[in-house]
C-alpha cells in the first residue's frame, strides 16, 4: 500500500508541492479534494519537496487534502475498444461508454530511430482537389493548416476525417469550443465515420493541464495502432492552444520566457509531437494534420514560425480556401509522379495560369484596359475557384484531373496553356 500525504506545502496556480519520498519523476498521483478526485503529475523534485501539476487545476485544493502516489507515469488504455469512443485529456470517457482500464501503455514514449525510417511513398487521398491535386498529402507527413481564427478549419478537418483513405482517424481537440466539439461529434456520426475514429477532446472550459496531454495521448495510441499495421491519420486542433497552455504553465512556474512569453523549449516540445509522424517499414503509418491558428494572420508569430521549421510544408487557409501560393506539401514530389502522367504538369500549369489570373484581376481592379487574353484568364480564374478550390467536395484525383482539363479547354486554346504537346494530345477533351 502506497503512503498517503496530507500536508500540502504550497499551492501556486495549478502546481502544488508536498514533502514526500520515494517518488519518481513523471509519476502520477491522485489528489482528493472536496470537489472530487483529480490526477496530478510530478514535474519537479527538489530534495524532499515534490511539485505536482494538478490536472483539474489548483482552485479549491485545501492544504489538508490527501495525495496518493500511484507509482506509475501517465498511461492510457489501448485496445480495439477505443474506436468510436470519445475521451478527455486525461483519458476519461466523455461519452456514455465504460471506462477503459485494460492494457495500459505509457504516453510520450521515446523517439523513432531515424535509421529505421523509410522514404515516404504513398499518397493519402482526401477527395479535396486543392489537397490531392495541388499539394498532395503523403503518408507519414506532418502538415499544419495555418489559419486565421474564424476560418472553417474545423469543417475542413471534419471533412478530411470523413473522406481520407486511412484505416483510423484520431482526433485530438485542444481548447475546442464546446460547439466545435459537438460539431465534430455530430458530423462524424452522421457521416458514419465515428466508428473508425477515436477522439481525445479538451474543451476550452476544461483545466489547462489536460490540454497538454491531448497530443501525447493521441500519438501514443496512434503509435500502437501503426505498429499493428494500421494507417493512422492524427488530426490535431488547435496546436496554438496547446502552445498557449504550455506558456501559461511555464509562466506560473516562473520559467524565463523566450519569445512573446512562450517557453524556450517551444520548438523541442512541438517537434517531439510532430516527429511522431512515421511510416513504419512492413507495418502501418502515422500522418499528422494539425491546425495552427495564427494570431493576427502573422506567420512570424512564434507558434506558426516554429511549426513551419518542423513540419513538411503547410496548408494556408484563407477566405475559406486553401491558398495555392502560400501552401506547400514538401513531400508531394515523392508521390505525384506515380499517380497519373498529367498530374505534375497539370499541377504546375494550372497554378501558373492562376497566378496570371491574379495579375489580370489586379489590372482590372486598377481600371486598366482588359485584353482578350485577360478576359480568358478572368473566366479561367472564376472556374478554377469554383471547381478546384471548393473545400466541400469529394472528388477522386482522376476526376479532378479531368475537371482540370475541362476547365482549360473551356477557357483556352491548347497552345495557350503551356502544356506539353504529348499530354494535350492525350488529355485535351475532344469536341462535343
Amino acid at each position: 500500500m502506497r503512503k498517503v500525504y496530507s500536508k500540502i506545502e504550497t499551492i501556486a496556480g495549478n502546481v502544488i508541492s508536498v514533502k514526500a519520498d520515494g517518488v519518481s519523476y513523471g509519476e502520477l498521483a491522485e489528489v482528493s479534494t472536496s470537489y472530487g478526485k483529480s490526477l496530478a503529475e510530478v514535474i519537479k523534485l527538489d530534495h524532499g519537496m515534490v511539485s505536482l501539476q494538478v490536472f483539474a487545476g489548483g482552485r479549491g485544493i485545501s492544504t489538508g487534502d490527501e495525495i496518493r502516489f500511484l507509482g506509475h507515469p501517465m498511461e492510457v488504455s489501448f485496445s480495439e475498444n477505443l474506436t468510436g469512443r470519445i475521451f478527455n485529456g486525461s483519458g476519461v470517457p466523455r461519452d456514455k461508454g465504460p471506462e477503459l482500464t485494460e492494457n495500459l501503455i505509457p504516453i510520450g514514449g521515446p523517439s523513432f530511430n531515424p535509421a529505421k525510417r523509410v522514404i515516404p511513398r504513398n499518397m493519402i487521398r482526401t477527395g479535396i482537389p486543392m489537397i490531392d491535386l495541388f499539394n498532395t498529402l503523403v503518408e507519414s507527413q506532418k502538415l499544419p493548416i495555418f489559419s486565421v481564427s474564424g476560418e472553417p478549419y474545423n469543417e475542413l478537418l471534419a471533412r478530411i476525417a470523413m473522406q481520407a483513405e486511412v484505416d483510423l482517424i484520431i482526433l485530438g481537440g485542444m481548447g475546442l469550443k464546446y460547439d466545435d466539439y459537438l460539431y465534430f461529434k455530430d458530423t462524424l456520426e452522421e457521416g458514419g465515420a465515428l466508428s473508425r475514429t477515436i477522439m481525445f477532446v479538451h474543451t476550452a472550459s476544461d483545466p489547462t493541464v489536460e490540454c497538454l496531454m491531448v497530443p501525447d495521448i493521441s500519438l501514443a495510441v496512434a503509435e500502437k495502432f501503426a505498429l499493428q499495421g494500421k494507417k493512422v491519420l492524427v488530426l490535431l486542433t488547435d496546436m496554438t492552444n496547446f502552445a498557449d497552455a504550455m506558456k501559461e504553465i511555464a509562466i506560473t512556474q516562473e520559467q524565463v520566457p523566450s519569445n512573446r512569453g512562450y517557453p524556450g523549449d517551444l520548438y523541442s516540445q512541438l517537434a517531439s509531437r510532430y516527429e511522431k509522424a512515421v511510416d513504419i517499414e512492413g507495418s502501418g503509418s502515422i500522418t499528422i494534420l494539425g491546425v495552427t491558428t495564427m494570431p493576427g494572420d502573422d506567420v512570424t508569430h512564434p507558434v506558426p514560425d516554429n511549426t513551419g521549421y518542423i513540419t513538411e510544408g503547410q496548408y494556408y487557409l484563407k477566405n475559406g480556401r486553401i491558398e495555392p501560393f502560400g501552401s506547400l506539401s514538401r513531400l508531394k514530389q515523392q508521390v505525384n509522379d506515380r499517380t497519373r502522367e498529367d498530374h505534375r504538369a497539370l499541377m504546375d500549369g494550372m497554378i501558373k495560369l492562376y497566378a496570371a489570373f491574379k495579375d489580370s484581376l489586379e489590372k482590372q481592379s486598377m481600371g486598366f484596359q482588359m485584353s482578350a487574353w485577360d478576359d480568358k484568364l478572368l473566366k479561367y480564374g472564376a472556374m478554377f475557384e469554383a471547381v478546384m478550390m471548393d473545400l466541400t467536395v469529394n472528388i477522386p484525383l482522376e476526376k479532378a484531373l479531368d475537371e482540370g482539363w475541362r476547365i482549360l479547354s473551356d477557357c483556352f486554346d491548347p497552345s495557350e496553356t503551356g502544356m506539353k504537346t504529348s499530354l494535350i494530345e492525350k488529355f485535351w477533351p475532344k469536341e462535343k
Partner: protein
C-alpha cells in the same frame, strides 16, 4: 568508483549529492529502478551537490537513485571505421542501435562507436626505438578511399620511445599495436583508437594558416560570387522553406573535399533519411567510390533529447578535426546551429541563469565563436596541410536576421549566404539573396570581373524596385537595360536547378567559360533601342542559356547550343 545520490530532478537536469570530488563536465551515469544507466554530464557544481544534464528522457528517475561518475569528460572515440557511419549526438551508431533496440531509441542503450570485431590491415610506419609525440603517425590502415593514419593519442603529452610495434597484419581496434615508454620509463599499450573530449579543440599541429584556397561547391553563385575557402567558415541563415537544407544537401554531395561530416542537429528526421538512402547509391566523382564512404552523419533530430543535441555539434567537429590531422580536407555541415543554440537556452533556463536577449544565455556568442573557431587550415608536423571548413545553417525566428543567433554567427564567419523568402517564393533557387550576402574569401575568378557583374546585379535589383513605383514607362532605356541584364545574369547564372542532372553541379572550368561569355555580353554595346524588343531578345537568350545549362559539358549538344547563343548575341552586337 565515485558515486552520488539523486536529490532533485527538473526536466532533463538532475541534482546529485556528492560523496567525493567531481570534475566539471565529467560524465556520470544515473541508474534507474529498471537498472538503466542514463548518460549525463556535470554542468554545475555547488558545494556538496552537482547538477547534471541528462542526455536521455528523465521520466522514472527517483530521489535516492545512485549516480556513477566515470572520471572522464564527454569524449568521442577516434579510430578507423568512422567513415560511412550514422551516429546520434553521443556517437551511438544508429543502425546498430536499431538492430538491438528495434524501432525506437530506447534510453540507456549505448553501443561502441567503432566496430570491435572488424579487422584492419595495419602497416607500420614508425620503428622500434623511434621517438614519438602526440599525433605522430605509428602506421596506417586503409579506410574507404584513404590511408587512415594511426596516431599516438592526442592526450599523451610526454615524449615517448617505441618499445615495440606490431608488424604488418590484420588487427582489431582493441589490439595493442605498439608499446611505448615515456621519459620516466612507464609503459603504455597503444591501440588503434583512443578517446578525446569533444568540447576541447584538437591542436596538435604546427601552425594555423590563412584560408585562401577556395573550397569548390559546384554551386555557381557560391564559387563565383560568394566563395568559401578551405578552412573557412560560412553560414546560411534563412526562414523556413527557403531551401537551407536542399542547399546543404547539394553541397554535401558535390563539395570538393575529402571527408564530409553532416551534423543534423535538431532538424527533421525525414531529411536525414534522404541522405541516408541516397548517398550509398551515389558515387564520389573524386574517388569513384560510394559517396557514403567519405561521409559521416551525426544525426540528432528534433525529437531526440536536447542535451545530446547540444553535444552533437561538438562530436561532429571533433571527428572533423581528427581527419584533418591526417592531412585531409574536411567539410562540416551543421544543420541547424539555431537548434543547438536553443538547446543551450533550455539548459540555461533550467540552471536559472540570468537570461540575455530572447532568453539566450549570456555565453551564446562565445559558444558560437568557439565552435566556428575550430575550423581552420593547418600545417601539420608532417608538413602536410589539412583543413576543417564549417558551414552552418541558422533558422532565425520569423526569418528576421536581427535575432541573437544570426548576429552572433555573422560576427565570426567568413562568408554569409543569406536566403530570402522573397526569392524562394519566386522559385529562384538557390534563394541566396545577392544584396544581403557577402564573402571575405577569394574565389576562382578575377575579383574585378565578379565584382563588376555582382554590382550590375545589385543595380538591376534597385531598378526593379524603382520600376514598381514609376512603372515601365517611367524608366529610362539605360536603366531598363540594366534591369534586363541583371535579371538575365540572375536567371541563367545565379539561379541553378539542383534537381537537374547536369545543372546541379557545375565544374569550375565550365563556370569560368560561361561566366566569361556572360561578362563579355554585359560589357558589349547592344543594338537594342526599344524596351519591348529588348525584353523579348533577352527572353529568347535566356531560354537558350537555360537549355545550354542543362546540356552536358563539351558534348555535341553543348557545342550546338553554344553556337546558337553566339549567333544570337553576335546578331545584336553594335
Amino acid at each position: 568508483m565515485k558515486q552520488g545520490k539523486v536529490v532533485g530532478i527538473n526536466g532533463n537536469m538532475v541534482t546529485v549529492a556528492l560523496e567525493s570530488s567531481v570534475i566539471m563536465n565529467e560524465v556520470g551515469y544515473i541508474i534507474t529502478d529498471e537498472g538503466k544507466r542514463l548518460k549525463s554530464e556535470v554542468i554545475r557544481v555547488m558545494g556538496d551537490e552537482a547538477q547534471l544534464q541528462v542526455f536521455e528522457i528523465t521520466k522514472g528517475i527517483s530521489i535516492g537513485d545512485s549516480c556513477d561518475f566515470s572520471g572522464d569528460l564527454l569524449a568521442a572515440e577516434l579510430g578507423p571505421g568512422l567513415l560511412g557511419q550514422v551516429y546520434d549526438g553521443l556517437q551511438n551508431p544508429l543502425p546498430e542501435l536499431a538492430e538491438q533496440a528495434g524501432y525506437f531509441l530506447e534510453r540507456g542503450v549505448y553501443i561502441d562507436p567503432l566496430n570491435r570485431s572488424r579487422r584492419w590491415d595495419f602497416t607500420p610506419v614508425a620503428h622500434e626505438g623511434d621517438k614519438v609525440e602526440q599525433a605522430d603517425i605509428l602506421g596506417t590502415v586503409p579506410e574507404g578511399p584513404f590511408k587512415h593514419s594511426i596516431m599516438v593519442p592526442f592526450n599523451m603529452l610526454d615524449s615517448y620511445t617505441i618499445k615495440s610495434i606490431k608488424p604488418a597484419g590484420s588487427y582489431l581496434i582493441s589490439d595493442t599495436i605498439a608499446v611505448v615508454t615515456d621519459s620516466r620509463g612507464n609503459e603504455f599499450n597503444l591501440t588503434m583508437s583512443f578517446q578525446w573530449p569533444v568540447k576541447r579543440a584538437i591542436t596538435c599541429y604546427e601552425e594555423r594558416l590563412k584560408p585562401v584556397e577556395p573550397m569548390l561547391t559546384k554551386t555557381r553563385v557560391i564559387d563565383t560570387f560568394l566563395p568559401v575557402a578551405k578552412g573557412g567558415t560560412y553560414c546560411i541563415p534563412g526562414p523556413f522553406g527557403a531551401g537551407k537544407t536542399v542547399l546543404q544537401q547539394t553541397t554535401s554531395k558535390f563539395a570538393d573535399v575529402d571527408v564530409v561530416i553532416v551534423a543534423a542537429c535538431g532538424e527533421r528526421a525525414g531529411e536525414v533519411v534522404e541522405t541516408l538512402k541516397e548517398f550509398p547509391e551515389l558515387t564520389d566523382p573524386k574517388t569513384g567510390k560510394s559517396l557514403m564512404e567519405r561521409t559521416i552523419i551525426i544525426c540528432n533530430t528534433s525529437s531526440m533529447p536536447v542535451a545530446s543535441r547540444e553535444a552533437s555539434v561538438y562530436t561532429a567537429v571533433t571527428l572533423a578535426e581528427y581527419y584533418r590531422q591526417m592531412g585531409l580536407d574536411v567539410l562540416l555541415l551543421a544543420d541547424s546551429t539555431s537548434r543547438w543554440a536553443q538547446a543551450m537556452r533550455e539548459m540555461s533556463g533550467r540552471l536559472e541563469e540570468i537570461p540575455g536577449e530572447e532568453a539566450f544565455p549570456a555565453y551564446l556568442e562565445s559558444s558560437i565563436a568557439g565552435f566556428y573557431e575550430r575550423a581552420g587550415i593547418v600545417k601539420l608536423k608532417s608538413g602536410k596541410t589539412g583543413s576543417v571548413t564549417i558551414g552552418g545553417t541558422v533558422s532565425p525566428a520569423g526569418g528576421n536576421f536581427e535575432e541573437p543567433v544570426t548576429q552572433a554567427t555573422l560576427k565570426v564567419v567568413g562568408a554569409f549566404h543569406g536566403l530570402s523568402r522573397e526569392r524562394s517564393d519566386a522559385r529562384k533557387y538557390p534563394a541566396i539573396h545577392p544584396i544581403d550576402s557577402w564573402s571575405k574569401y577569394a574565389g576562382i575568378m578575377d575579383t574585378k570581373k565578379t565584382t563588376k557583374a555582382y554590382n550590375l546585379l545589385k543595380r538591376g535589383y534597385e531598378v526593379e524596385a524603382m520600376m514598381k513605383v514609376v512603372g515601365e514607362e517611367g524608366t529610362s532605356l539605360a536603366d531598363y537595360m540594366i534591369y534586363l541584364e541583371g535579371d538575365f545574369l540572375d536567371a541563367v547564372y545565379f539561379q541553378q536547378n539542383s534537381f537537374d542532372a547536369v545543372d546541379c553541379a557545375v565544374a569550375p572550368e565550365r563556370q569560368e567559360h560561361v561566366f566569361d561569355k556572360i561578362y563579355d555580353l554585359l560589357n558589349s554595346k547592344l543594338n537594342l533601342t526599344e524596351k519591348s524588343a529588348a525584353r523579348s531578345w533577352f527572353n529568347q537568350l535566356r531560354q537558350r542559356f537555360l537549355d545550354w545549362n542543362s546540356a552536358e559539358w563539351e558534348t555535341e549538344e553543348y557545342k550546338k547550343l553554344e553556337a546558337e547563343i553566339d549567333a544570337h548575341i553576335a546578331g545584336m552586337k553594335a
